[in-house]
C-alpha cells in the first residue's frame, strides 16, 4: 500500500516537471524528422524512416531514464525529504521499490506517448501498420528498466554527477559487453583472462540482448524464444541490482 503511495508520488513528481514534457516533445520531433532523412536517402526510404525514428525515441527515453533515475534517491537525501518518509512505518526496501516503480510508470507514459505518435506518423507515411515495432518498444522498455535499476543503485550511495558517469558508462559498455563472451574462442588456454572476460560478461548488463532494432528495420523474423530469454534476463538483472541497492540503502545512516 505505502509502496504504491511512493511510486505514485514519484510519478507525480516527474510529470509535474516541465523538463519531462520537453524531452518527450523533442523526442517526438526528432522521430518525425526521420521523414526528412528518408527524403534525402536513395533506396529503402521506409527502412531509414524506422531506423532513425526508433533511434530518436530510444535516445530520449534513455535520457529520461538516466537523468531522472540518478536524482531519484539522491535528491531525497540531499533535500532531506527522506526524513519525513522513513520516519513513517515504511521499510527502506519499499521506499527503493516504490521509487523504481514510480520511474517505471513515468517511462511507460513517455514511451507510450512517443510510440503512439510515431505509429500514427508511420501509418500516414507508409500506409502500413507494423506490429513488430510494438515488440521493439516492449524490449526497449525492459532495457529502460535495467538502466533505471542501475541508476537507482548508484543514486542510493553517490552524487548525481558520479551516478550519471557510472550509468552512462554502463549503458555504453552494456551494448558491447557481448563481445567478452566471444573471447572464449581467442582465450582458449588462458584461464585467468578467461575468468576476467566471463566475469565482465556476466556482471555487467548485456543490453544488446534487448536491442532488436536491426531485426525490426531489416525485417528479419523474430525469434520468440530468444526474446523471452532476453526478458527473463532483464527481470533477473533488475531484481539483482535492486536487491543490491536495498542492501546498501538498508545500512545507511541519515545524519
Amino acid at each position: 500500500m505505502n509502496l504504491k503511495a511512493i511510486a505514485l508520488n514519484t510519478f507525480k513528481e516527474a510529470v509535474r516537471n516541465k523538463v519531462f514534457y520537453l524531452l518527450i516533445v523533442v523526442g517526438i520531433l526528432f522521430a518525425l524528422s526521420s521523414q526528412i532523412m528518408s527524403m534525402l536517402t536513395i533506396g529503402d526510404k521506409v527502412r531509414v524512416l524506422k531506423d532513425f525514428g526508433l533511434a530518436a525515441i530510444n535516445f530520449f527515453c534513455v535520457l529520461i531514464a538516466i537523468f531522472t533515475g540518478i536524482n531519484l534517491v539522491f535528491k531525497e537525501i540531499d533535500k532531506k525529504t527522506i526524513y519525513n518518509i522513513l520516519s513513517k512505518p515504511i521499510s527502506r526496501s519499499n521506499f527503493i521499490l516504490g521509487k523504481f516503480f514510480g520511474l517505471a510508470l513515468t517511462l511507460l507514459v513517455a514511451l507510450v506517448s512517443m510510440g503512439v505518435i510515431f505509429y500514427i506518423f508511420l501509418l500516414i507515411s507508409t500506409g502500413s501498420f507494423d506490429i513488430r515495432i510494438a515488440v521493439y518498444f516492449l524490449m526497449l522498455y525492459f532495457e529502460l528498466l535495467v538502466i533505471t535499476a542501475i541508476s537507482v543503485l548508484f543514486s542510493s550511495f553517490s552524487t548525481p554527477i558520479l551516478s550519471s558517469i557510472f550509468t552512462i558508462g554502463l549503458y555504453f559498455i552494456g551494448h558491447i559487453v557481448w563481445t567478452f563472451n566471444e573471447f572464449k574462442h581467442v582465450l582458449q588456454d588462458k584461464a585467468f583472462e578467461k575468468i576476467v572476460a566471463y566475469s565482465i560478461y556476466y556482471i555487467l548488463p548485456n543490453l544488446e540482448k534487448l536491442n532488436i532494432k536491426n531485426i525490426i528495420v531489416l525485417n528479419t523474423p523474430l525469434d520468440w524464444t530468444l526474446l523471452m530469454n532476453s526478458v527473463l534476463y532483464a527481470v533477473c538483472y533488475i531484481s539483482a541490482v535492486l536487491i543490491l541497492a536495498i542492501l546498501i540503502f538498508n545500512k545507511k545512516d541519515f545524519q
Binding site: N2, K4, E13, N17, Y83, N84, S87, K88, P89, D253
Partner: protein
C-alpha cells in the same frame, strides 16, 4: 491495557552512537549514554545546547540513524519494528517536504504512507488544515509557502495518523511570537486529548510554560531528568528578605551582609535556617518585615548550571 502495566510511551536505555569522519580516519562519539523515560500523556522537553545530540537521539528513535548500542521502545515495542512507528507523529527540524505538492496533497500522501483510507485521510486533512490555520492555503504548492507555513503544515502532517506519541524536533524555531503561542496551545490541546509529546528546543521560555518533564542532554549524555515541578521546587536557591526599622549596627554585629534599597535593608540568605534566624532577629529588635521571597531557579538557571 497499557495503563494497567504502566507502559512508557518512550523508553531509551544506554543509547550510544558514533560517526566516522571521512576516509574512516576518526570516530566521533555523538551519543555517549542516553537514558530517557517518557510516561504516557506527559509533555517531555528535551533540552540541550546545539550539537549536544538532540537531533541524533530523535533520529535514532525513528531509525533514520541506527544506534551502535542501547534499547529504544515505543509503547513497549522495539523501535526496530515498523509497527512501532504506526502511532508516532514526527516533525523534523527545518522540515523539508516535496515542494511540488500542495498543502492538502502532502497530508493525503502522508496518510497513504500510514495506509489510511483516502476518505479518512481527506477528512482528517481538512480538520488538521483548520487546526494549523492553513485551510485557505491548502491548494497552494509548498514551494510558495513561507517558513512559518512550512512549520505549520509539518505539524499537520505529523498528526495525520492521530498519533499517541508526537515527536517534534525544534518545533518553535522559525515561528513568530503569535505562532509560538499557537503551537503551545496545540501542544497543550494534544496533551488534553491524552497524547504524549516529546519535543526538543533551546527556547527555554516556551519549554518552561508547557513541559511536565525535562531531560537535559549535554555532550551526548543525559545529565538531568525529572519533573519540571520537582526540578524547580528543589531548586530554591536563596531567600530575599526586605525589611526596615533596624539599626545597621545589629546587622554588623551578627555579621549579616546587607544591601540598602532606598531606606530599607535587603538581605539574601542562602538557606531556610538562615532566613528563619534573620526573621527572628528582626522581630526581636522590633523591625518591620516588608517581604520574604524565595528565589527559585528558573529552567534557564538549571540549564546553565548543568552546562557549567
Amino acid at each position: 491495557m497499557r495503563k494497567e502495566v504502566n507502559m512508557k510511551a518512550l523508553q531509551i536505555r544506554n543509547l550510544k552512537k558514533s560517526f566516522r569522519s571521512n576516509f574512516l580516519l576518526k570516530t566521533y562519539q555523538i551519543l555517549k549514554d542516553i537514558d530517557i523515560n517518557v510516561e504516557e500523556g506527559e509533555i517531555y522537553g528535551f533540552l540541550g545546547p546545539n550539537g549536544a545530540g538532540k537531533t541524533t537521539t530523535i533520529k535514532c528513535i525513528l531509525r533514520l540513524i541506527y544506534p551502535d548500542n542501547g534499547e529504544i521502545e515505543i509503547f513497549g515495542t522495539p523501535h526496530s519494528q515498523l509497527a512501532s512507528r504506526k502511532k508516532v507523529g514526527y516533525l523534523p527540524e527545518h522540515p523539508y517536504f516535496y515542494d511540488y505538492l500542495t498543502g492538502k496533497e502532502l497530508l493525503l500522501f502522508t496518510g497513504r504512507l500510514f495506509s489510511i483510507s483516502p476518505k479518512e485521510s481527506a477528512s482528517r486533512a481538512d480538520e488538521l488544515l483548520r487546526l494549523v490555520g492553513l485551510e485557505n492555503k491548502k491548494d497552494l504548492k509548498l514551494r510558495k509557502y513561507s517558513k512559518g507555513m512550512i512549520q505549520r503544515i509539518g505539524l499537520a502532517q505529523s498528526l495525520i495518523n492521530d498519533p499517541d506519541l508526537v515527536i517534534l524536533d525544534e518545533p518553535f524555531s522559525g515561528l513568530d511570537p503569535i505562532g509560538r503561542k499557537e503551537l503551545r496551545d496545540i501542544i497543550l490541546s494534544l496533551k488534553g486529548a491524552g497524547k504524549t509529546i516529546f519535543f526538543s528546543s533551546h527556547i527555554l521560555q516556551d519549554m518552561e510554560l508547557i513541559v511536565d518533564k525535562v531531560g537535559i542532554i549535554q555532550e551526548g549524555r543525559i545529565t538531568r531528568e525529572g519533573k519540571l515541578s520537582e526540578l524547580i521546587s528543589h531548586s530554591v536557591q536563596s531567600y530575599e528578605t526586605l525589611f526596615s526599622g533596624l539599626d545597621e549596627a545589629i546587622l554588623k554585629e551578627h555579621k549579616i551582609q546587607f544591601q540598602l534599597r532606598d531606606r530599607n535593608f535587603l538581605v539574601v540568605s542562602p538557606g531556610k535556617e538562615e532566613a528563619n534566624s534573620l526573621i527572628q532577629l528582626i522581630t526581636a529588635n522590633k523591625g518591620n518585615i516588608i517581604s520574604v521571597s524565595p528565589i527559585k531557579m528558573t529552567l534557564e538557571d538549571i540549564f546553565l548550571k548543568e552546562l557549567k
